[in-house]
């Protein structure tokens, strides 16, 4: 075990573990964005067998990069892919058709029903902060078999209601995805620096289902903008191993 690590490492390794478990469960196909999701997915490729299959919105299918890409269109991604297709094709034939098991998202705001804002803080027409925008997220959130979210937990980011709904989680609550006709399963795991959240089976509201070693319930409540609830059992996530940390650090140094 190791007790010297960053919260980024904590989130990445916990996300990679989940991806490894999903790949072992026959759900390997992962649609990833750049940043923590890409790092976690690439780490899982090194740690687990069967490895996740990486799909990038730039059209790369089955990428096996030897170093971490800085951008979604990094040359390394295309050159190590099983197949490179056009952007219209990756969204239509691959994501929309339901071939992606896990969509991997982040955002500026996340609300209690797992909806994501990556568009604006404040009013749309007079934004306090203009964010980059939705990008690929709305259709990933709609069509991926399940969605994993990685975000640092804070009252500012984990809000009662998003200023703008860029991507739909469970919308306004139970049954809303079905009414909207969304085919994917919605957010199933939110990996934060404090622990892991998952939707309550009854209310669809995100609740803490695990805490990282040393994190208290009070810290989680204080970092959440809605009245946070906890699952019946809230285990502590496994301590990061030297193997995991070494693999991650080697990957980041490559």
């Amino acid at each position: 075990m190791s007790d010297s690590y960053t919260t980024d490492e904590l989130m990445i390794i916990n996300a990679a573990r989940q991806l490894g478990a999903l790949a072992a469960d026959g759900k390997p196909v992962c649609f990833v964005g750049i940043g923590l999701p890409s790092t976690a997915a690439n780490l899982a490729r090194r740690l687990y067998n069967p490895p996740p299959v990486l799909v990038y919105e730039s059209g790369c299918i089955g990428s096996k990069p030897t170093r971490l890409p800085l951008s979604i269109g990094d040359g390394e991604l295309g050159e190590t892919s099983d197949s490179v297709v056009s952007v219209p094709e990756i969204f239509a034939y691959w994501l929309q058709a339901g071939r992606v098991d896990i969509g991997f998202l982040g955002g500026a705001q996340l609300d209690r029903y797992g909806n994501i804002n990556s568009t604006v803080i404040g009013d749309y027409n007079k934004p306090a902060t203009r964010l980059p925008g939705a990008g690929g997220a709305p259709e990933i959130a709609a069509s991926a078999g399940a969605v994993m979210i990685i975000m640092r937990q804070s009252k500012r980011a984990f809000v009662e209601r998003c200023d703008f709904r860029s991507s739909v989680g469970f919308g306004d609550g139970p049954g809303h995805r079905e009414r909207l006709g969304l085919r994917g399963g919605g957010p199933q795991w939110v990996i934060t620096d404090l622990g892991v959240m998952a939707p309550s089976p009854d209310t669809c509201e995100l609740q803490m289902v695990a805490l990282h070693p040393g994190v208290t319930r009070e810290q989680a409540v204080a970092a959440t903008g809605w009245p946070l609830t906890f699952a019946d059992a809230v285990p502590t996530t496994e301590v990061l191993t030297e193997t995991e940390l070494d693999a991650l650090r080697q990957l980041q140094a490559a």
């Binding site: 269109g73 056009s86 219209p88 994501l95 203009r130 925008g133």
Partner: protein, 286 residues
């Protein structure tokens, strides 16, 4: 049949004030040199279109070329915000920028519909998000067979599309490979098109994954080696990540930005001079 000519001529002839202009590229093959030439020739009131506006759109917006932007994700990939884009949207500097906002899937569908000569495209998208409230080019559509609710988006048909590719030939055909984004659709959906290329060759050698655009669907082909920098052209150059990181500081400040544009873009007469000006000839990155 396309013309093989200088980028200066191509932009002068094909890009007009008030045009809808798409300079496409999905991280790879971004037509920076062409964007600079548009700034240099002082185009105004452009409606810029792009899935992923990044540094070159930040420059066009900051230089006052655009009054409208249609896009799905505007940022400096791996770095952060587009400062000039934010300043235009948040503070109206140098003037207001009207935005038309989509998702990537929606933009890709719009380009594909435009390339196919259809007035609209259909996707499973946007449903339940706040985007349709703000964007008129998104509307519900029902499957005429099953009654299922889907989403329609208008086709995109830019007045001019501009892309960068690896090779042209003397007849004006274009060959490109690697990550190709929506570039083919951007050219095929546009009324006019300009392709800057790394080199003009006598004959194309086949390359795995390559797409060839025949001369008769391209407007102009212009040889501009390195014309994607700081983006890259697979098998010709690598992405200059340091340049992208450095852009954050330059673009954060209006004065620093303006000085940069004045010195390196408006103060040079073409991309080769620009490269010397920013120190690329001697290996420095900004």
């Amino acid at each position: 049949m396309s013309r093989v000519c200088s980028l200066t001529e191509a932009v002068a002839e094909m890009v007009h004030d008030g045009d809808t202009v798409a300079l496409e590229g999905f991280t790879h093959l971004i037509p920076h040199a062409a964007g600079h030439e548009v700034i240099r020739q002082g185009r105004r009131d452009l409606h810029l279109v792009r899935m992923t506006p990044d540094m070159v759109y930040d420059q066009l917006i900051g230089a006052g070329c655009a009054t409208r932007l249609t896009f799905s994700w505007g940022g400096n990939p791996g770095v952060g915000s587009l400062q000039r884009f934010r300043d235009a949207v948040e503070n109206g500097w140098p003037h207001a920028l009207q935005i038309e906002e989509h998702s990537h899937a929606g933009m890709a569908t719009r380009y594909a519909a435009g390339a196919a000569g259809l007035p609209f495209g259909v996707l499973r998208g946007y449903v339940g998000t706040d985007l349709p409230q703000h964007t008129e080019s998104i509307t519900p559509i029902e499957c005429p067979f099953t009654g299922e609710a889907l989403t329609a988006v208008t086709a995109l048909n830019p007045d001019v599309s501009i892309i960068h590719a690896q090779r042209g030939d003397r007849h004006g055909n274009v060959q490109m490979w690697g990550l190709l984004g929506v570039q083919k659709e951007a050219v095929l959906s546009a009324r006019r098109s300009i392709v800057t290329v790394e080199e003009i060759v006598d004959e194309f050698q086949p390359v795995p994954g390559a797409v060839v655009l025949p001369s008769w669907v391209v407007g102009a082909v212009c040889e501009v080696p390195g014309g994607a920098h700081p983006s890259f052209a697979q098998d010709y150059s690598v992405r200059d990540n340091a340049f992208y990181r450095a852009w954050d500081a330059i673009s954060k400040d209006r004065t620093a930005f303006t000085e940069w544009i004045n010195r390196h873009v408006l103060g040079t007469s073409n991309f080769a001079e620009y490269r010397t000006s920013v120190g690329l000839e001697v290996g420095a990155s900004v």
